[in-house]
C-alpha cells in the first residue's frame, strides 16, 4: 500500500467518505415520510399488488426521493454551509464532494425510474421522474431562492409519493390519489410555518426568502389559517371516496377541528402574547400537525384493512341493523 492510495486524490487533504456519508446524502429522515405515504397509496388502491412488486415499487419511490435529496444537497451546498441546521451535512462538512452528490443523485434517479418502470409500468415511473425533476429543478434550483412561497412548492414534491404508490398498483390516476396528493400538499405550509414562528432560522443569512422574514409574522399567521381552512374540505372529502369511510371520517373530523382551532388561535394571537408564553400555542399547533398527516394516512390504512368484511360502511350498517 503506497501513501498515494491513502489520500483522496480528487480533493487533497479531505477525508474519504464512508458508506454512511453517502447514505446521509439521501436525507433518510425525509425518506421515512415518503415510504409511509407511498405505502398507504399502494395498499389502499383497489387493485391487489404482488407483495414483491409492491416492495420493489416502494423501494424505488424511496430511492428516487433519496436521489432528489442528493441533488438538492449538491445544488444547495453553498447555503447549507451557512445555516446551523445544515452545516454538518456531508458536503459542507467536507465528508463528500459536490461531484459525488451529483453523481449519486443522477445514478439513483436513473436506477429508481428504470426499475419502477419494469416493476409497475410507465405511469408510476413517469410520475417518479417528474417528482425528482420537480424537487431538484423547479424547487431547489429555481423557486427556493426566489419566492417566499417556496414551502408551498416544495410541499408538492413531497405530496407525490401516495399518488405514485396508487399508480404503481392501478396504473392510473384517480380522484382518490389526487386527494391524497392534495392532503399532503395543503398540510405542508401550515405545518412548516407553525415551526417557523417559534424556531429562529437563519434562512435570511443564506439568502433564502422565508415568509416570516419577507412578509412578517402577522402575515405568516394569516397564511397558516388560510391554508388550514383550505385543507379541511380536502381531508374530509377524501372520506367520501372509495378509500374513505366512517372510521376515517371520525378521525378526520377530530383532527381537523383540532388543527383549525389551533390555526384560529395562532391567527388571533399577537407577537407579544406569543413571546409572553414562550410560543406555547405555536408549538402545540406544530405538534398537532405532526400527528395530523400520520393519523389521516393511518385511518386510510384502517379502512383498507376493513375491506375484507365489506368495508366500514357495511360493518357500521350491520352493527345498527340498517
Amino acid at each position: 500500500m503506497t501513501d498515494a492510495s491513502m489520500t483522496n486524490l480528487s480533493r487533497p487533504g479531505a477525508p474519504e467518505a464512508s458508506f454512511g456519508d453517502y447514505f446521509a446524502l439521501l436525507k433518510p429522515r425525509v425518506m421515512s415520510l415518503v415510504v409511509f405515504t407511498a405505502l398507504v397509496g399502494l395498499v389502499v388502491a383497489p387493485v391487489p399488488v404482488h407483495p414483491f412488486l409492491g416492495f420493489v415499487a416502494i423501494l424505488c419511490i424511496a430511492v428516487g426521493g433519496g436521489a432528489s435529496g442528493a441533488l438538492n444537497m449538491w445544488w444547495d451546498a453553498d447555503i447549507d454551509a451557512i445555516m446551523r441546521r445544515t452545516k454538518s451535512r456531508p458536503i459542507p462538512s467536507g465528508k463528500t464532494s459536490p461531484g459525488d452528490a451529483l453523481a449519486l443523485g443522477l445514478a439513483l434517479s436513473g436506477f429508481s425510474v428504470a426499475v419502477l418502470f419494469l416493476a409497475a409500468g410507465p405511469l408510476a415511473a413517469g410520475l417518479l421522474a417528474f417528482t425528482i425533476f420537480f424537487y431538484a429543478v423547479i424547487y431547489t434550483m429555481w423557486l427556493k431562492r426566489s419566492t417566499p412561497q417556496n414551502i408551498v412548492i416544495g410541499g408538492a414534491a413531497g405530496a407525490f409519493p401516495p399518488m405514485i404508490g396508487w399508480a404503481a398498483a392501478t396504473g392510473d390516476i384517480a380522484i382518490e390519489s389526487v386527494l391524497m396528493f392534495a392532503l399532503t400538499f395543503m398540510w405542508t405550509p401550515p405545518h412548516f410555518w407553525a415551526l417557523a414562528l417559534f424556531v429562529k432560522t437563519d434562512y435570511g443569512d443564506a439568502g433564502v426568502p422565508m415568509l416570516t422574514e419577507t412578509h412578517g409574522r402577522r402575515s405568516t399567521r394569516r397564511h397558516i389559517l388560510a391554508y388550514t381552512v383550505l385543507l379541511v374540505p380536502v381531508a374530509l372529502g377524501l372520506g367520501f371516496t372509495s378509500i374513505g369511510g366512517p372510521v376515517y371520517l371520525a378521525i378526520a373530523a377530530v383532527l381537523n377541528l383540532q388543527f383549525l382551532a389551533g390555526a384560529w388561535q395562532l391567527f388571533r394571537r399577537s407577537e407579544e402574547q406569543a413571546e409572553a408564553d414562550g410560543y406555547a400555542a405555536e408549538k402545540k399547533v406544530f405538534k398537532i400537525s405532526l400527528g395530523y398527516l400520520f393519523l389521516h394516512f393511518g385511518a386510510l390504512l384502517i379502512e383498507a384493512a376493513l375491506r375484507p368484511w365489506g368495508g366500514s360502511w357495511q360493518i357500521l350498517s350491520g352493527l345498527f341493523g340498517a
Binding site: 491513502m6 404482488h50 412488486l53 423501494l59
Partner: protein, 66 residues
C-alpha cells in the same frame, strides 16, 4: 510490521456496502423476472419473450397449417 490505517477500515466498510448493494440489485432483478414471468396468463405469452421465431404464435400461420 503492518499497521492498519483508519482509512482502510472506512474503505472496507464502503466496499462491503457497495458489494452488498450490487448483490441486492441482482436479487431484485432476478425476483422481478420470476414474479413477472409467473404472473403471465398463458404459456403463449411466455414464448413471446423467446428470441426464436415461433410460427404458431402468428394466427395466419396457424390457419395456413390447418
Amino acid at each position: 510490521m503492518r499497521v492498519e490505517h483508519e482509512l482502510h477500515h472506512r474503505r472496507r466498510g464502503r466496499n462491503l456496502g457497495v458489494g452488498l448493494l450490487l448483490v441486492a440489485f441482482v436479487g431484485l432483478i432476478f425476483g422481478l423476472t420470476v414474479v413477472k414471468t409467473l404472473s403471465l396468463g398463458s404459456i403463449v405469452e411466455l414464448e413471446r419473450f423467446d428470441h426464436v421465431a415461433r410460427p404458431q404464435l402468428v394466427p395466419q400461420a396457424k390457419e395456413a397449417g390447418q
